[in-house]
Symmetry: C2
Subunit: 198 residues, 2 copies
Protein backbone atom coordinates (compact mmCIF):
# COMPACT_ATOMS: atom_id res chain seq x y z
CA UNK A 1 0.00 0.00 0.00
CA UNK A 2 2.92 2.36 0.61
CA UNK A 3 5.59 3.45 -1.84
CA UNK A 4 8.63 1.17 -2.04
CA UNK A 5 10.96 1.17 0.93
CA UNK A 6 8.37 2.05 3.61
CA UNK A 7 6.26 -0.95 2.65
CA UNK A 8 9.37 -3.13 2.65
CA UNK A 9 10.21 -1.97 6.17
CA UNK A 10 6.64 -2.67 7.31
CA UNK A 11 6.83 -6.15 5.76
CA UNK A 12 10.16 -6.92 7.47
CA UNK A 13 8.85 -5.85 10.87
CA UNK A 14 5.68 -7.86 10.24
CA UNK A 15 7.85 -10.99 9.98
CA UNK A 16 8.99 -10.67 13.60
CA UNK A 17 7.09 -12.71 16.21
CA UNK A 18 4.14 -10.96 17.87
CA UNK A 19 4.10 -8.06 15.39
CA UNK A 20 1.03 -7.90 13.15
CA UNK A 21 0.58 -5.63 10.10
CA UNK A 22 -0.86 -2.75 12.20
CA UNK A 23 1.97 -2.81 14.75
CA UNK A 24 4.53 -3.08 11.95
CA UNK A 25 3.04 0.02 10.33
CA UNK A 26 3.08 1.88 13.65
CA UNK A 27 6.74 0.97 14.24
CA UNK A 28 7.77 1.99 10.71
CA UNK A 29 6.11 5.41 11.11
CA UNK A 30 7.66 5.82 14.54
CA UNK A 31 11.08 5.26 13.00
CA UNK A 32 10.32 7.67 10.15
CA UNK A 33 8.95 10.42 12.32
CA UNK A 34 10.85 10.26 15.61
CA UNK A 35 14.10 12.15 15.18
CA UNK A 36 15.64 10.97 18.44
CA UNK A 37 15.18 7.27 17.68
CA UNK A 38 18.65 5.96 16.91
CA UNK A 39 17.88 4.04 13.75
CA UNK A 40 21.52 3.52 12.78
CA UNK A 41 22.28 1.94 16.17
CA UNK A 42 19.47 -0.59 15.68
CA UNK A 43 20.73 -1.29 12.14
CA UNK A 44 24.28 -1.81 13.46
CA UNK A 45 23.12 -4.11 16.27
CA UNK A 46 21.11 -6.20 13.84
CA UNK A 47 24.12 -6.57 11.57
CA UNK A 48 26.42 -7.48 14.46
CA UNK A 49 24.25 -9.70 16.59
CA UNK A 50 24.24 -12.80 14.39
CA UNK A 51 27.97 -12.82 13.83
CA UNK A 52 29.05 -12.01 17.40
CA UNK A 53 26.62 -13.97 19.53
CA UNK A 54 27.21 -17.67 19.95
CA UNK A 55 26.36 -20.45 22.38
CA UNK A 56 28.49 -21.15 25.46
CA UNK A 57 30.54 -24.29 24.81
CA UNK A 58 29.84 -25.54 28.34
CA UNK A 59 26.17 -24.85 29.02
CA UNK A 60 24.64 -23.66 25.72
CA UNK A 61 23.63 -20.24 27.07
CA UNK A 62 24.16 -17.26 24.75
CA UNK A 63 27.40 -15.34 25.01
CA UNK A 64 29.91 -13.32 23.00
CA UNK A 65 32.84 -15.34 24.41
CA UNK A 66 33.61 -19.06 24.30
CA UNK A 67 32.03 -19.48 27.74
CA UNK A 68 29.10 -17.49 29.12
CA UNK A 69 29.47 -15.12 32.08
CA UNK A 70 27.93 -17.69 34.46
CA UNK A 71 30.27 -20.52 33.45
CA UNK A 72 33.23 -18.12 33.71
CA UNK A 73 32.26 -16.98 37.24
CA UNK A 74 34.50 -18.84 39.76
CA UNK A 75 32.04 -18.16 42.61
CA UNK A 76 29.35 -20.37 41.03
CA UNK A 77 28.92 -23.87 42.45
CA UNK A 78 29.95 -26.25 39.66
CA UNK A 79 28.58 -29.30 41.50
CA UNK A 80 24.99 -28.15 40.90
CA UNK A 81 23.38 -28.12 37.44
CA UNK A 82 20.00 -26.66 36.56
CA UNK A 83 18.61 -27.93 33.24
CA UNK A 84 16.47 -25.41 31.32
CA UNK A 85 14.95 -25.21 27.84
CA UNK A 86 16.07 -21.78 26.61
CA UNK A 87 18.57 -19.01 27.41
CA UNK A 88 15.67 -16.81 28.58
CA UNK A 89 14.91 -19.37 31.30
CA UNK A 90 18.42 -18.78 32.64
CA UNK A 91 17.61 -15.09 32.95
CA UNK A 92 14.31 -15.84 34.70
CA UNK A 93 16.04 -18.07 37.28
CA UNK A 94 18.94 -15.65 37.76
CA UNK A 95 16.38 -13.00 38.68
CA UNK A 96 15.33 -15.05 41.74
CA UNK A 97 18.94 -14.91 43.07
CA UNK A 98 18.28 -18.30 44.70
CA UNK A 99 20.43 -20.51 42.49
CA UNK A 100 24.23 -20.34 42.65
CA UNK A 101 25.08 -23.36 40.48
CA UNK A 102 25.58 -23.71 36.72
CA UNK A 103 23.05 -24.22 33.96
CA UNK A 104 22.52 -26.55 31.06
CA UNK A 105 20.46 -25.10 28.21
CA UNK A 106 18.79 -27.85 26.17
CA UNK A 107 17.82 -25.61 23.28
CA UNK A 108 14.13 -26.56 23.46
CA UNK A 109 11.91 -29.38 24.70
CA UNK A 110 10.91 -32.77 23.35
CA UNK A 111 7.92 -32.27 21.06
CA UNK A 112 6.96 -35.06 18.65
CA UNK A 113 4.40 -32.76 16.95
CA UNK A 114 7.15 -30.27 16.03
CA UNK A 115 9.53 -33.11 15.17
CA UNK A 116 11.86 -32.36 18.10
CA UNK A 117 13.30 -35.53 19.63
CA UNK A 118 15.92 -36.01 22.39
CA UNK A 119 18.73 -35.98 19.83
CA UNK A 120 17.77 -32.49 18.62
CA UNK A 121 18.44 -31.12 22.12
CA UNK A 122 21.81 -30.95 23.86
CA UNK A 123 20.99 -34.02 25.96
CA UNK A 124 24.08 -36.04 24.85
CA UNK A 125 26.20 -33.07 25.89
CA UNK A 126 24.44 -33.00 29.29
CA UNK A 127 25.23 -36.70 29.83
CA UNK A 128 28.86 -35.96 28.98
CA UNK A 129 28.98 -33.12 31.56
CA UNK A 130 27.42 -35.39 34.20
CA UNK A 131 29.83 -38.19 33.28
CA UNK A 132 32.79 -36.14 34.54
CA UNK A 133 31.74 -36.97 38.13
CA UNK A 134 31.96 -33.41 39.40
CA UNK A 135 28.21 -32.85 39.53
CA UNK A 136 26.39 -33.72 42.78
CA UNK A 137 22.82 -32.57 42.00
CA UNK A 138 20.64 -31.99 38.95
CA UNK A 139 17.57 -29.75 39.04
CA UNK A 140 15.23 -30.09 36.07
CA UNK A 141 13.60 -26.73 35.34
CA UNK A 142 11.87 -27.32 32.00
CA UNK A 143 8.54 -25.53 31.44
CA UNK A 144 5.49 -26.87 33.33
CA UNK A 145 3.67 -27.65 30.05
CA UNK A 146 3.21 -30.78 27.95
CA UNK A 147 6.59 -30.59 26.17
CA UNK A 148 8.47 -29.53 29.31
CA UNK A 149 6.93 -32.34 31.36
CA UNK A 150 7.74 -34.88 28.65
CA UNK A 151 11.33 -33.66 28.58
CA UNK A 152 11.57 -33.82 32.39
CA UNK A 153 10.18 -37.37 32.40
CA UNK A 154 12.62 -38.44 29.67
CA UNK A 155 15.56 -36.89 31.51
CA UNK A 156 14.65 -38.37 34.89
CA UNK A 157 14.54 -41.84 33.32
CA UNK A 158 17.85 -41.25 31.53
CA UNK A 159 19.50 -39.97 34.70
CA UNK A 160 18.71 -43.07 36.80
CA UNK A 161 22.05 -44.38 35.49
CA UNK A 162 23.89 -41.58 37.29
CA UNK A 163 24.06 -41.66 41.08
CA UNK A 164 23.16 -38.05 41.87
CA UNK A 165 19.92 -36.60 43.26
CA UNK A 166 17.65 -35.35 40.45
CA UNK A 167 14.80 -32.98 41.29
CA UNK A 168 12.12 -31.08 39.41
CA UNK A 169 10.89 -27.55 40.23
CA UNK A 170 7.66 -27.60 42.27
CA UNK A 171 4.32 -27.08 40.53
CA UNK A 172 1.59 -25.37 42.54
CA UNK A 173 -0.31 -22.17 43.12
CA UNK A 174 1.47 -19.06 41.87
CA UNK A 175 2.38 -16.70 44.72
CA UNK A 176 0.10 -13.67 44.84
CA UNK A 177 -2.55 -15.55 42.87
CA UNK A 178 -6.12 -16.31 43.83
CA UNK A 179 -7.05 -19.92 44.62
CA UNK A 180 -10.42 -19.69 42.87
CA UNK A 181 -8.76 -18.70 39.57
CA UNK A 182 -6.24 -21.56 39.54
CA UNK A 183 -6.93 -24.16 36.85
CA UNK A 184 -7.71 -27.69 38.04
CA UNK A 185 -4.39 -29.17 36.96
CA UNK A 186 -2.41 -26.57 38.90
CA UNK A 187 -4.68 -26.97 41.93
CA UNK A 188 -4.34 -30.77 41.70
CA UNK A 189 -0.55 -30.40 41.64
CA UNK A 190 -0.69 -28.08 44.64
CA UNK A 191 -2.52 -30.84 46.54
CA UNK A 192 -0.06 -33.52 45.48
CA UNK A 193 2.90 -31.37 46.44
CA UNK A 194 1.45 -30.09 49.73
CA UNK A 195 4.03 -29.52 52.43
CA UNK A 196 3.77 -30.52 56.08
CA UNK A 197 3.55 -27.50 58.36
CA UNK A 198 3.75 -29.38 61.70
Amino acid sequence: MYDGIVQELIDEFGRLPGIGPKSAQRIAFHILQTQNFDVSRLAELLAEVREKVRFCEVCGNITEEQRCSICRDPRRDATLICVVEEPKDVVAIERTRQFRGLYHVLGGAISPIDGVGPDDLSIPHLMQRLGSGEVREVIIATDPNLEGEATAAYLSRLLTSIEVPVSRLASGLPVGGDLEFADEVTLGRAFEGRQQLR
Copy 2:
Protein backbone atom coordinates in the same frame (compact mmCIF):
# COMPACT_ATOMS: atom_id res chain seq x y z
CA MET B 1 20.45 -9.39 32.27
CA TYR B 2 22.06 -10.68 29.07
CA ASP B 3 25.66 -10.35 27.96
CA GLY B 4 26.44 -7.18 25.98
CA ILE B 5 25.03 -6.97 22.50
CA VAL B 6 21.95 -9.15 23.04
CA GLN B 7 20.78 -6.91 25.87
CA GLU B 8 21.47 -3.84 23.71
CA LEU B 9 19.34 -5.31 20.93
CA ILE B 10 16.54 -6.08 23.40
CA ASP B 11 16.76 -2.50 24.73
CA GLU B 12 16.59 -1.00 21.21
CA PHE B 13 13.54 -3.07 20.29
CA GLY B 14 11.96 -2.15 23.62
CA ARG B 15 12.11 1.51 22.57
CA LEU B 16 9.75 0.91 19.64
CA PRO B 17 6.06 1.67 20.21
CA GLY B 18 3.92 -1.24 21.43
CA ILE B 19 6.90 -3.47 22.24
CA GLY B 20 7.39 -4.23 25.93
CA PRO B 21 10.47 -5.88 27.50
CA LYS B 22 9.06 -9.41 27.04
CA SER B 23 8.23 -8.90 23.36
CA ALA B 24 11.60 -7.25 22.77
CA GLN B 25 13.30 -10.32 24.27
CA ARG B 26 11.19 -12.64 22.14
CA ILE B 27 12.07 -10.70 18.97
CA ALA B 28 15.80 -10.65 19.80
CA PHE B 29 15.84 -14.42 20.30
CA HIS B 30 13.85 -14.94 17.14
CA ILE B 31 16.50 -12.98 15.22
CA LEU B 32 19.30 -14.93 16.91
CA GLN B 33 17.81 -18.35 16.38
CA THR B 34 15.90 -18.18 13.08
CA GLN B 35 18.34 -18.79 10.29
CA ASN B 36 15.99 -17.79 7.49
CA PHE B 37 15.17 -14.38 8.96
CA ASP B 38 16.95 -11.86 6.75
CA VAL B 39 18.56 -9.75 9.42
CA SER B 40 20.84 -7.88 7.01
CA ARG B 41 17.87 -6.80 4.88
CA LEU B 42 16.17 -5.29 7.96
CA ALA B 43 19.44 -3.56 8.91
CA GLU B 44 19.78 -2.15 5.37
CA LEU B 45 16.19 -0.93 5.28
CA LEU B 46 16.59 0.81 8.63
CA ALA B 47 19.72 2.55 7.41
CA GLU B 48 18.06 3.63 4.15
CA VAL B 49 14.57 4.56 5.23
CA ARG B 50 15.34 7.85 7.00
CA GLU B 51 17.48 9.21 4.19
CA LYS B 52 15.30 8.11 1.25
CA VAL B 53 11.79 8.72 2.51
CA ARG B 54 10.45 12.28 2.47
CA PHE B 55 7.14 14.06 2.42
CA CYS B 56 5.31 14.84 -0.84
CA GLU B 57 5.72 18.55 -1.57
CA VAL B 58 2.06 18.80 -2.62
CA CYS B 59 0.08 16.79 -0.07
CA GLY B 60 2.51 15.82 2.71
CA ASN B 61 2.08 12.07 2.17
CA ILE B 62 5.24 9.94 2.40
CA THR B 63 7.14 9.18 -0.78
CA GLU B 64 10.61 8.56 -2.16
CA GLU B 65 10.07 11.15 -4.95
CA GLN B 66 9.27 14.85 -4.83
CA ARG B 67 5.57 14.05 -5.28
CA CYS B 68 3.78 10.98 -3.97
CA SER B 69 2.29 8.35 -6.27
CA ILE B 70 -1.24 9.74 -5.76
CA CYS B 71 -0.30 13.34 -6.64
CA ARG B 72 1.63 12.06 -9.68
CA ASP B 73 -1.34 10.02 -10.95
CA PRO B 74 -3.05 12.01 -13.79
CA ARG B 75 -6.29 10.00 -13.39
CA ARG B 76 -6.93 11.45 -9.91
CA ASP B 77 -9.47 14.28 -9.62
CA ALA B 78 -7.48 17.36 -8.54
CA THR B 79 -10.66 19.36 -7.76
CA LEU B 80 -11.40 17.18 -4.71
CA ILE B 81 -9.25 17.27 -1.56
CA CYS B 82 -9.56 14.95 1.41
CA VAL B 83 -7.85 16.28 4.56
CA VAL B 84 -6.37 13.60 6.85
CA GLU B 85 -4.10 13.57 9.91
CA GLU B 86 -1.44 11.02 8.97
CA PRO B 87 -0.05 9.14 5.94
CA LYS B 88 -1.59 5.93 7.30
CA ASP B 89 -5.04 7.51 6.99
CA VAL B 90 -4.37 7.89 3.25
CA VAL B 91 -3.75 4.16 3.06
CA ALA B 92 -6.95 3.40 5.00
CA ILE B 93 -9.04 5.55 2.65
CA GLU B 94 -7.33 4.19 -0.47
CA ARG B 95 -8.35 0.73 0.66
CA THR B 96 -12.05 1.68 0.30
CA ARG B 97 -11.48 2.52 -3.42
CA GLN B 98 -14.25 5.11 -3.07
CA PHE B 99 -12.20 8.29 -3.26
CA ARG B 100 -10.58 9.40 -6.52
CA GLY B 101 -9.41 12.88 -5.50
CA LEU B 102 -6.18 14.09 -3.87
CA TYR B 103 -5.20 14.22 -0.20
CA HIS B 104 -3.81 16.75 2.20
CA VAL B 105 -1.90 15.26 5.14
CA LEU B 106 -1.87 17.61 8.12
CA GLY B 107 0.84 15.76 10.03
CA GLY B 108 -1.29 15.37 13.17
CA ALA B 109 -4.26 16.98 14.91
CA ILE B 110 -4.73 20.03 17.11
CA SER B 111 -4.01 19.00 20.70
CA PRO B 112 -3.37 21.72 23.31
CA ILE B 113 -2.32 19.06 25.87
CA ASP B 114 0.50 17.88 23.60
CA GLY B 115 1.33 21.45 22.61
CA VAL B 116 0.18 20.98 18.99
CA GLY B 117 -1.50 24.10 17.61
CA PRO B 118 -2.77 24.89 14.07
CA ASP B 119 0.64 26.30 13.08
CA ASP B 120 2.35 22.99 13.85
CA LEU B 121 0.22 21.29 11.18
CA SER B 122 0.34 21.93 7.45
CA ILE B 123 -2.79 24.11 7.61
CA PRO B 124 -1.17 27.21 6.03
CA HIS B 125 -0.07 24.98 3.15
CA LEU B 126 -3.66 23.68 2.82
CA MET B 127 -4.98 27.26 2.58
CA GLN B 128 -2.42 27.97 -0.13
CA ARG B 129 -3.55 24.91 -2.12
CA LEU B 130 -7.19 25.93 -1.78
CA GLY B 131 -6.29 29.52 -2.76
CA SER B 132 -5.31 28.40 -6.27
CA GLY B 133 -9.03 28.14 -7.11
CA GLU B 134 -8.80 24.69 -8.66
CA VAL B 135 -10.40 22.87 -5.72
CA ARG B 136 -14.20 22.41 -5.78
CA GLU B 137 -14.78 20.31 -2.64
CA VAL B 138 -13.03 19.63 0.66
CA ILE B 139 -13.72 16.50 2.73
CA ILE B 140 -12.42 16.59 6.30
CA ALA B 141 -11.44 13.08 7.39
CA THR B 142 -9.64 13.69 10.69
CA ASP B 143 -10.07 11.01 13.39
CA PRO B 144 -13.45 10.86 15.20
CA ASN B 145 -11.80 11.58 18.57
CA LEU B 146 -11.30 14.72 20.67
CA GLU B 147 -8.27 16.03 18.76
CA GLY B 148 -9.66 15.09 15.34
CA GLU B 149 -13.01 16.77 16.09
CA ALA B 150 -11.25 19.92 17.34
CA THR B 151 -9.17 20.01 14.16
CA ALA B 152 -12.27 19.50 11.99
CA ALA B 153 -14.11 22.32 13.84
CA TYR B 154 -11.11 24.63 13.45
CA LEU B 155 -10.79 23.85 9.73
CA SER B 156 -14.50 24.26 9.00
CA ARG B 157 -14.42 27.74 10.59
CA LEU B 158 -11.25 28.65 8.68
CA LEU B 159 -12.70 27.40 5.40
CA THR B 160 -15.84 29.58 5.55
CA SER B 161 -13.71 32.17 3.73
CA ILE B 162 -13.42 29.86 0.72
CA GLU B 163 -16.52 29.26 -1.39
CA VAL B 164 -16.36 25.49 -1.77
CA PRO B 165 -18.47 22.80 -0.09
CA VAL B 166 -16.72 21.42 3.02
CA SER B 167 -17.92 18.12 4.48
CA ARG B 168 -16.93 15.82 7.32
CA LEU B 169 -16.97 12.00 7.24
CA ALA B 170 -20.13 10.56 8.85
CA SER B 171 -20.03 9.30 12.42
CA GLY B 172 -22.32 6.41 13.31
CA LEU B 173 -22.57 2.70 13.95
CA PRO B 174 -19.69 0.67 12.52
CA VAL B 175 -20.87 -1.75 9.81
CA GLY B 176 -20.94 -5.34 11.06
CA GLY B 177 -21.13 -4.12 14.66
CA ASP B 178 -23.76 -4.80 17.27
CA LEU B 179 -26.05 -1.94 18.34
CA GLU B 180 -26.02 -2.95 22.00
CA PHE B 181 -22.22 -2.68 22.17
CA ALA B 182 -22.04 0.82 20.66
CA ASP B 183 -20.98 3.50 23.15
CA GLU B 184 -23.51 6.24 23.86
CA VAL B 185 -21.66 8.96 21.95
CA THR B 186 -21.51 6.85 18.78
CA LEU B 187 -25.15 5.85 19.16
CA GLY B 188 -26.09 9.52 19.75
CA ARG B 189 -24.23 10.47 16.57
CA ALA B 190 -26.00 7.71 14.66
CA PHE B 191 -29.34 9.26 15.71
CA GLU B 192 -28.27 12.78 14.76
CA GLY B 193 -27.02 11.62 11.37
CA ARG B 194 -29.96 9.32 10.60
CA GLN B 195 -30.89 9.14 6.95
CA GLN B 196 -34.38 9.28 5.43
CA LEU B 197 -35.35 5.97 3.85
CA ARG B 198 -38.64 7.16 2.28
